[in-house]
């Protein structure tokens, strides 16, 4: 039987940090390394970000009394930028040491923080419940083994990992509006866009790369980028948005 394992992610994605342009995980090959950076935007009319009514869990209503949480399936920023897009090297990666730092997922105010996290196979992932009530985390994995676990208030963190590459939607069985993604990527070259839609993939040794941008509702787009030395190449992604 397979063991759960692996995974990844972006680290300091705690709320405040999300305003940063992007998360960067540099690899460190010898010689001149290049960088690919760009911005993810949309054209058209995106779905409305709707306030989430958490009436079922009065404590979470109180936590967000000042400003209700909005749906996160499509999060836009000024200038038609898209947040929570994962941009990564999907082909041409020349390998890197396995990631060992622990990635953290918080359940706070009936919300997954971060909404999208990236981990590499077998990278430690700790899941915390910071709310004074239960959660039941349920990653809807298909390639990796699917599981769901209840985590009462005050319970210790769940230590886990994902073993195989997969994009895993995650839901809470108790709070239907809670949704997130665990992106298990084999590459260490990835970024998750912040509100400004910007990303930077650095530390890329010379070579031909395919860079892919994934957005949970709009799907993926890819571009080929060739790095010849210590240069910075630009790759912008534009998704076509529809309101429904």
């Amino acid at each position: 039987m397979r063991t759960h394992s692996v995974s990844v992610l972006v680290t300091a994605l705690v709320t405040g940090a999300l305003a940063r342009p992007a998360m960067v995980v540099p690899a460190a090959p010898a010689g001149a390394a290049g960088t690919i950076s760009g911005k993810v935007t949309y054209t058209g009319t995106p779905p409305k970000m709707k306030p989430i009514d958490m009436a079922k869990e009065p404590n979470c209503v109180t936590q967000h009394a000042a400003a209700p949480v909005l749906t996160e399936n499509v999060v836009t920023g000024p200038g038609n930028t898209l947040r929570w897009v994962v941009v990564y090297v999907s082909a041409g990666d020349q390998g890197s040491a396995p990631a060992t730092e622990t990635v953290r997922l918080d359940q706070k105010g009936c919300q997954y923080i971060p909404h999208v996290l990236v981990v590499q196979p077998n990278q430690p992932l700790d899941i915390y419940n910071n709310d004074p009530h239960s959660h039941n985390i349920h990653p809807l994995a298909r390639v990796n083994p699917e599981w769901n676990r209840s985590q009462p208030a005050g319970a210790p963190p769940i230590h886990t990992k994902w073993e195989l590459p997969e994009f895993i939607p995650v839901k809470c069985n108790v709070h239907p509006w809670m949704h997130g993604w665990h992106m298990v990527l084999t590459t260490s070259h990835y970024a998750v866009t912040g509100e400004d839609g910007a990303f930077t993939l650095s530390g890329l040794p010379p070579g031909k790369y395919t860079v892919t941008a994934w957005q949970e509702q709009f799907g993926t787009q890819s571009q080929d980028v060739t790095i010849t030395g210590g240069e910075t190449k630009t790759a912008n992604f534009v998704f076509k948005a529809t309101p429904y």
Partner: protein
């Protein structure tokens, strides 16, 4: 020993009867138009079964007190014809009581559940799923969008599986996790289950109705008192059943109109 048992029996009878007579644990106040019928029926059941309970327990205590310590094994008296007629008599007596309650109760139940809803009812669609309730109002066009189960997506808050891209009647549907209703207006709920059996129970409304996957079950009532009351699931529906609840907010019509307007703006 026999006398002690008789005393204990009597104490149990008196205390348990007192709990009901003094209404220590009683139903919450009724807030529905049909509630008085239910309460009346409950009271009839309670009184008739209560009287029988008290009489039989006290009779038992009396006999135990009087005869338990006899050592000579003599029978006090024999039921005419022996055990068989005694059991038959008990079955007929108890059965008659249950039958009578059932007949009267069915009439009350059918009068509430099997009557057509008021044609001016406000229709609200209810969906139960593990482990939450969602409510849908038709929006300004007065029509519900069609439901497409394959489009149900919690991540986009599309709990009912609407298709606003193609179905214009679905675009203004108002989907919320709280049931708001105007006081004094007939309400027609249509209950749907997304996954397994659930139940819609509001003690104050004197309503308890199961959701069954594949069925659309109508349920109508009129609330008579403003306030906020809990809706709970009373069918064990999975691990999170304990936490499956929502609220019903009964409000005056103008306040309800405003509430609906506010929610419509958020869709």
């Amino acid at each position: 020993m026999g006398k002690l048992f008789a005393v204990v029996l009597t104490i149990i009878t008196v205390v348990s009867t007192a709990i009901f007579v003094l209404r220590v644990w009683w139903l919450p106040a009724d807030i529905s138009a049909h509630g008085p019928q239910i309460d009346h029926q409950l009271m009839e059941t309670m009184v008739s079964s209560g009287v029988l309970f008290v009489l039989s327990q006290l009779a038992l205590a009396l006999f135990v007190w009087k005869y338990a310590d006899r050592r000579d094994g003599r029978k006090v008296r024999e039921f005419p014809g022996g055990a068989t007629p005694m059991v038959a008599a008990a079955v007929v007596l108890v059965g008659a009581e249950i039958l009578a309650l059932t007949l009267v109760g069915s009439k009350v139940w059918a009068g509430i559940y099997q009557t057509p809803p008021d044609p001016n009812s406000l229709q609200i669609d209810v969906q139960a799923e593990q482990f939450a309730f969602y409510f849908r109002y038709p929006g300004p066009d007065g029509r519900f969008g069609a439901i497409h189960p394959e489009l149900m997506n919690e991540a986009t808050e599309n709990f009912f599986g609407l298709d606003p891209a193609r179905d214009t009647t679905a675009r203004d549907d108002i989907v919320v996790p709280t049931l708001a209703i105007p006081v004094g207006r007939p309400i027609l709920l249509t209950l749907r289950a997304k996954d397994v059996n659930h139940a819609f129970y509001v003690p104050e409304l004197r309503i308890q109705q199961d959701f069954v996957p594949g069925l659309v079950i109508p349920l109508h009532f009129t609330a008579t008192q403003p306030g906020k009351y809990e809706i709970v699931c009373t069918q064990l529906c999975g691990l999170g059943h304990y936490n499956m609840r929502a609220y019903v907010e009964v409000m005056p019509q103008p306040q309800f109109d405003q509430w609906l307007k506010d929610k419509a703006a958020q869709q």
